[in-house]
Symmetry: C2
Subunit: 329 residues, 2 copies
């Protein structure tokens, strides 16, 4: 019975906690969030339900013994590091949704090397993962590439129909904004998908290439409605933003990578597709697309069972065995 | 520069050897086959080409130092064991296309435990892998399941159009046979896909269940032509065998697995599909299907680069990191 702490009580943390409560081979031993409005509440209460079972949120990591922590607090690797260090001092393995941590050496090579050494000394494994980065645009294409010997081009398209997603996601992709508002946020780095450059760097590494900081060309554009589209934020009118498109490109060493992420309302043909070009071309489709909301939670919880059996260090998806859906109950 | 020996000079071994000769980071240091007609020949010569580069086939494993051996000699785990033991005594890692070795504990739990202990003492990693078993019907569904927390049903369909494959495969699936001939071979266990029960056992293990020997229900049937179909063995007439269908079924512990493999001439809609049922259903398609001939070779060669970094033991696809197509040149 693995003892698990969840740190960061946003939607991902809350749903991880609820999932762990439902699993008979995992024991939820702590919930952590700095927000005073959340302290003292259970996961169910944070989800707007009744009192519910399990521990209550504390502002600090509880003293109770634990095996693994799920950390869902920030997208930035340098910001998650103090939490990693506290958990390492307690010999607790970590799986995190921190997007930069999916391939931390892209933006933070020195810090990543330091944390790797510290994790090895502490004897714990640390992993950043999720749906994207962590699966659709990086790990899955590498898995597919194991069936060919050589790849010259990788093209991954992920098209998410934000009409079917919760309100925070519709807001996040810019729904109902003017193009001017979108571009203002964009110029301040306050809109756009996190981790797409990390996906490129991981994918390249899985195919035997090294991508250095700043080499990935990331582009972001607003997608504009050409008619009325209903949204949870109100009607999107013609000319207003219905979502965003984020692309990333890298080429080097005989390999070209193109990632194309569309998250928008009014996208009918939602799907993930991976296309490998080379002596033997190969294509893979996930019709409807990997469901972002539930799949991030699933990948974090599934790795709780895998990490205690991994060698210590700051790991990536290229270092660890597969984490299948092992929930039996 | 990893030094590689290839053992077993059938089509898979020959193509692995040619692939390794083409890779600038791998060095082919030996070819082994017992067949006197093959001894003394290069990989190119065995492929019906000119003299070619690289070592010549020897009947015994050469004394030259080596890091990894590719073993493509037999489908049966107990028959590959003497080769594994010889390679372990030489501290050489092994990746094998032996179908039973993809999940050796299904048919040979005691022998698998012995070999695992011996490999750990020898400090080498041994892995059985390939397309099927090793990928389409076991590893790939487990990879997909990492995006959900719980799975109640797995259905994998692999439909191979044997019209597009080489003559030995068309013969292997029974093309041009009478149903009586097919059933005669079937009753002697001399026709049918190898490793489908191992795929079920691996898939179940990846989803947290244990399948015991004999629990998988495997079925084999001839598929009959309802009109004339050309083949490399001559025309298949109405009523003659055009291929085979192999299914495998297991249910237990809240999980049902159904694998459905069709390899036949006149199959137009070739594809691999994986369907996971559960609280969050998920589906994956490989249009055209994973190309069996080249992909087995690719998976063996890709794991040559991964095995030296694995911990020692008799490994399975559930224990090892992903082996992307790392060939750069």
């Amino acid at each position: 019975m693995l003892r698990v702490i969840v740190i960061g009580m946003g939607p991902i943390g809350v749903n991880c906690a609820k999932q762990i409560l439902a699993d008979t081979d995992l024991q939820l031993v702590g919930l952590v969030d700095l927000d005073p409005a959340k302290v003292g509440k259970t996961a169910d209460e944070l989800d707007g339900l009744g009192h519910g079972a399990g521990p209550k949120v504390t502002a600090n990591i509880p003293d109770a013994p634990a095996d693994v922590a799920i950390v869902a607090t920030t997208s930035k690797f340098d910001r998650v590091v103090p939490t990693l260090r506290e958990l390492m001092s307690r010999k607790i393995h970590v799986v995190s949704s921190c997007e930069e941590m999916a391939w931390p050496r892209y933006l933070h090579p020195e810090l990543a090397a330091e944390i790797d050494a510290e994790a090895k000394r502490a004897g714990v494994a640390l992993l950043g993962t999720g749906v994207n980065p962590g699966f659709v645009m990086d790990f899955l294409p590498i898995v597919l590439s194991s069936m060919v010997t050589k790849v010259s081009n990788v093209k991954v398209i992920r098209r998410v129909d934000a009409s079917k997603r919760r309100l925070p996601l519709q807001a996040k992709v810019g729904a109902t904004m003017s193009v001017q508002q979108f571009n203002h946020l964009k110029s301040h780095g306050k809109i756009g998908h996190m981790g797409i450059a990390e996906s490129v760097a991981m994918l390249a590494a899985g195919l035997g290439r090294e991508v250095k900081r700043g080499e990935v060309r990331v582009m972001l554009e607003a997608l504009v409605a050409d008619g009325e589209i209903p949204s949870l934020l109100g009607t999107i009118h013609r000319g207003q933003v219905r979502g965003m498109r984020n692309t990333a490109h890298w080429t080097g060493d005989g390999l070209t990578i193109d990632l194309d992420l569309i998250m928008a309302l009014g996208e009918n043909d939602a799907q993930d597709s991976v296309e490998l070009t080379g002596p033997t071309p190969l294509k893979l489709l996930i019709p409807g697309g990997t469901p972002g909301d539930t799949a991030t939670v699933a990948s974090l919880v599934n790795f709780v069972r895998v990490l205690p059996n991994c060698s210590p260090g700051l790991k990536t998806m290229l270092d660890v065995p597969v984490a299948g859906a092992r929930r039996v109950s």
